[in-house]
């Protein structure tokens, strides 16, 4: 058990947890940031995706104690007053069904669009391939990423 500080959504947070506790459970159980979802625990479904220094990371598979000198962004910190263009696109196209995986989808999409501002359809499908949506809202996720890219360019 150790106490350490991590930077989440622009704020330094003190955490007391076992060294092997995944970031996912520190966010959800210790910091009350439950927007990041638990899906599989082995980095296969993408429901727990957050940004570490702007890059999409599976929070279930990385211990929080290893993340002391980086900036972590969760779905709660993605936007403030105004929605992020990716969130806007998700709303405009009424993407979610059950909605559970969508925070992870949005975090994957925002990180991807930062690296590739003008993606083609194949690149979008490739980038989103590792996030599972059990309701299969895939058509709309694909369209929403394309719409957000268009809005952001």
């Amino acid at each position: 058990m150790a106490t350490y500080s991590i930077n989440v959504n622009g704020k330094n947070k003190s955490v007391t947890a076992d060294d092997d506790t995944p970031l996912l459970w520190v966010l959800r159980d210790e910091l009350n940031l439950v927007g990041t979802k638990f899906g599989c625990g082995i980095g296969q479904c993408g429901a727990c995706t957050v940004h570490v220094d702007g890059v999409a990371v599976r929070s279930c598979s990385v211990p929080a104690a290893n993340l002391k000198d980086v900036k972590i962004t969760t779905i709660e910190g993605l936007s403030n007053e105004e929605l992020h263009p990716v969130q806007d696109a998700w709303k405009a196209l009424d993407v979610p069904q059950c909605g559970y995986c969508q925070a992870g989808q949005i975090m994957t999409a925002t990180s991807f669009l930062k690296q590739n501002a003008n993606p083609n359809a194949t690149e979008i499908r490739e980038a989103m391939h590792r996030n599972i949506c059990r309701c299969a809202s895939y058509n709309r996720i694909e369209k929403a990423v394309a719409l957000a890219a268009k809005k952001m360019s």
Partner: protein, 719 residues
């Protein structure tokens, strides 16, 4: 045709009103069961009693409307579409409506269930009548205020207008309206006058979903709550022997380890400590029964298919004679594996059993039945159970079963702690209530270029197709028709999985019809249309589908997909199926690449009557179709000595983005009462894909998943 969608509206479902202490009007009504004569709505919304009424509308002084609806939301969209129906008849701007999930203090409820795609179908009349009656009361109150005849007033968009052009808002008259008699025989709008129904309304929870607000069961928290991770027998047929919890108790944060039945719960101060503690348990499991493997299931199901003592479910004409005099008999066996549901939100539930009450919170499709089972399990009065529903991260049938609620209640009853049981993905997949493995043997008798006999046998694990299914197509279309079924009782737990039975039966039959079309040298679409032309709607009351609606749906799908007119690299497969009161036809377009089918596009035609919320409706069809394709293609779940062989997504394959086609949905336009869409899009998908693969390669696929059975050599040769 007998109109199956015409559900009699009972006046006893009706409304009672009261004036709220805080101002405004509260209307109580029952969606699916009758009100007691004595029932009255509370004067304080915090005291809503869902025993008396199961839905409420509040109209505030400012005219804004809140709907409290108890219907569980699992991603099927009823939290948006059901309020739309009320708002339409109440005639308020949709922007002025908010929706609250009603808590359930459950007792004597019927159909407080998300399942069977029935919420909209059953709610349609009650929701419209409630909205229209409330609107009439508001008009009557305004007329009284003005001293004019109510008939000279009208209302639209929350504003009441009289003959002189004076206006009052709904909020201005709510307090008077609550005291008036409830009018009878109100007039409902004609579909042509709808301004909300038939227009896109975005999911009412959209902002919370896209910004990560707490919504789901897993997000629910109470100060001081503990978490439980439960070790269950890893193989079906096992029981607990001895166990050693020494190491588990040394894990940081673990506070207790308790045994209940054949399970052990590790209780921790957070999810991670409970999960880690569980992994540190040393347990000897005892083999109580013969441990079953997939091979055993194959053998048992084959025995049933060969048995002469099956349960006859429907028997028309003279099937034996038809086969005895046939020119040719076609016979085929179709096989499907078990399937786990794999809701993205793993099973979980909060329970706090105290002397005063039993507080339960979480995602459950059957709140009423579950609450009553909890009461029995822990020997409490049903009145002590207070159950709150959260939004659900998927259901697909899995959350019809309250096993995880029982676990939470039992653990809290022993420890008296407020606790949340959280399944890991491995727990979720290994302790499933699976879609049962099923085999079908279908035989057709052909004579003089016609199908003269049809004989279907179902062999399934644990239970068989529900009673309506033998009356689905092709019942009525083939004179000599028999359906029989039998099952094998297994230790493996099984239950409803999105579109129960038809999720695989539709594949079997729709593939079989394609083969028959080849045999009869006719176009697969034409074969269905010819068969449907044998059916006269209304002649046989037991027939579930409408031949006319099915015909129109098939023609729309054929037209929109350019059936039979694609380029030489595209292969098409057709399928059509009626289930859950909705008619659906699908055309799958594929190409071949590196020996594998690439699913390019699915064109879907749907007759669900009036489309309440087009964006939500299309979302359901897109999801259902891709779900159906995904499981037909990849869904594989086997057992070895009672143990599931895949317990996480590293080896259990679900369809992902790159494997998905574009789904294009077209609705048959009519003004018939609406039916549900959560399930009907799924059943036809697998058959349409199999038929497209047959068109491309000549391979007849009879077993799911296809990925395991595709003859790569065939596809390579043709690629």
């Amino acid at each position: 045709m007998k109109n199956k969608n015409n559900i009699t509206f009972s006046r006893r479902n009706f409304i009672r009103t009261s004036t709220l202490a805080t101002g405004g009007l509260l209307v109580g009504f029952n969606l699916f069961n009758a009100c007691k004569d004595t029932a009255t709505p509370p004067i304080d919304v915090s005291k809503l009693n869902f025993n008396e009424f199961n839905a409420f509308i509040k109209i505030a002084d400012n005219g804004y409307v809140t709907l409290y609806s108890p219907n569980p939301e699992i991603g099927q969209g009823v939290k948006t579409s059901m309020p739309m129906i009320i708002a339409e008849e109440l005639d308020v701007p949709w922007e002025h409506v908010t929706v609250e999930q009603g808590n359930l203090d459950t007792k004597n409820f019927q159909r407080q269930v998300a399942g069977g795609s029935q919420s909209i179908r059953f709610g349609w009349d009650v929701l419209r009548q409630t909205g229209a009656t409330t609107k009439q009361m508001l008009i009557n109150a305004a007329a009284l205020k003005w001293g004019v005849e109510a008939a000279t007033c009208s209302a639209s968009k929350g504003i009441i207008t009289n003959a002189k052009g004076e206006t009052l808002g709904y909020g201005d008259v709510v307090n008077e309206a609550a005291k008036l008699e409830i009018p009878e025989n109100v007039t409902l709008k004609l579909p042509k006058d709808y301004t909300i129904i038939g227009n896109d309304a975005i999911n009412v929870d959209i902002d919370k979903i896209i910004t990560g607000k707490p919504l789901f069961g897993l997000d629910y928290k109470v100060e001081g709550m503990s978490y439980a991770s439960v070790a269950r027998p890893p193989a079906f047929g096992q029981k607990i022997g001895t166990f050693d919890a020494t190491d588990a108790k040394t894990v940081n944060g673990v506070s207790d380890v308790i045994q209940f039945g054949d399970k052990i719960a590790v209780i921790g101060k957070n999810t991670w400590s409970a999960m880690k503690g569980k992994k540190a348990l040393k347990i000897d499991w005892i083999n109580d029964n013969k441990l079953e493997s997939t091979e055993d299931h194959h053998n048992e199901l084959n025995k049933i298919l060969n048995s002469k003592k099956l349960n006859v479910r429907r028997d028309d004409g003279n099937v034996d004679k038809a086969f005895a005099s046939a020119d040719k008999i076609i016979e085929r066996i179709y096989e499907s594996p078990f399937l786990p549901h794999n809701c993205m939100e793993p099973m979980n539930f909060y329970a706090h059993v105290s002397d005063a009450k039993v507080h339960l919170v979480g995602p459950i499709q059957t709140p009423a039945g579950t609450a009553s089972r909890v009461a029995k399990l822990i020997n409490r009065d049903e009145a002590d159970i207070h159950l709150e529903m959260t939004r659900m991260g998927g259901g697909f049938g899995r959350r019809l079963y309250g096993d995880f609620v029982m676990e939470a209640a039992e653990i809290s009853n022993i420890t008296k702690l407020p606790i949340k049981v959280v399944f890991s993905r491995e727990d979720d997949m290994a302790a499933g209530i699976y879609r049962p493995a099923i085999k079908y043997r279908i035989k057709a008798a052909l004579k003089n270029g016609k199908i003269t006999g049809y004989h279907l046998k179902e062999a399934a694990i644990n239970s068989n197709m529900y009673g309506l299914i033998p009356n689905f197509f092709p019942a009525g279309a083939i004179k000599n028709y028999r359906v029989e079924s039998g099952n094998y009782k297994s230790d493996i737990t099984t239950g409803a999985w999105r579109a129960p039975y038809t999720n695989f039966l539709a594949f079997a039959e729709q593939s079989f019809f394609d083969e028959l079309a080849d045999e009869l040298n006719t176009n697969p679409v034409q074969l269905r249309l010819d068969l449907l032309s044998n059916v006269q709607d209304g002649k046989d009351d037991s027939i579930e589908y409408s031949a006319k609606r099915m015909t129109d749906t098939i023609k729309l799908a054929a037209k929109k997909s350019n059936w039979g007119q694609t380029d030489s690299n595209t292969y098409q497969g057709f399928s059509a199926y009626y289930s859950h009161n909705t008619h659906v036809a699908e055309v799958v377009d594929i190409s071949l690449s590196n020996g594998l089918p690439i699913i390019e596009k699915v064109t879907v035609a749907v007759d669900c009557g009036i489309v309440v919320n087009p964006t939500g409706a299309k979302n359901q069809i897109e999801g259902g179709v891709i779900d159906g394709l995904g499981h037909a293609m990849y869904g594989d779940f086997t057992f070895k000595n009672g143990k599931p062989q895949d317990i996480n997504f590293n080896t259990y394959r679900l369809i992902r983005m790159k494997e998905t086609p574009i789904v294009e949905t077209h609705f048959v336009k009519n003004n018939l009462s609406p039916t549900g869409l959560g399930e009907p899009g799924l059943p036809p998908a697998g058959g349409a894909l199999a038929n497209a693969i047959k068109a491309a390669t000549g391979q007849l696929l009879t077993k799911q998943p296809f990925i395991k059975n595709l003859d790569r050599r065939k596809t390579d040769l043709n690629a």
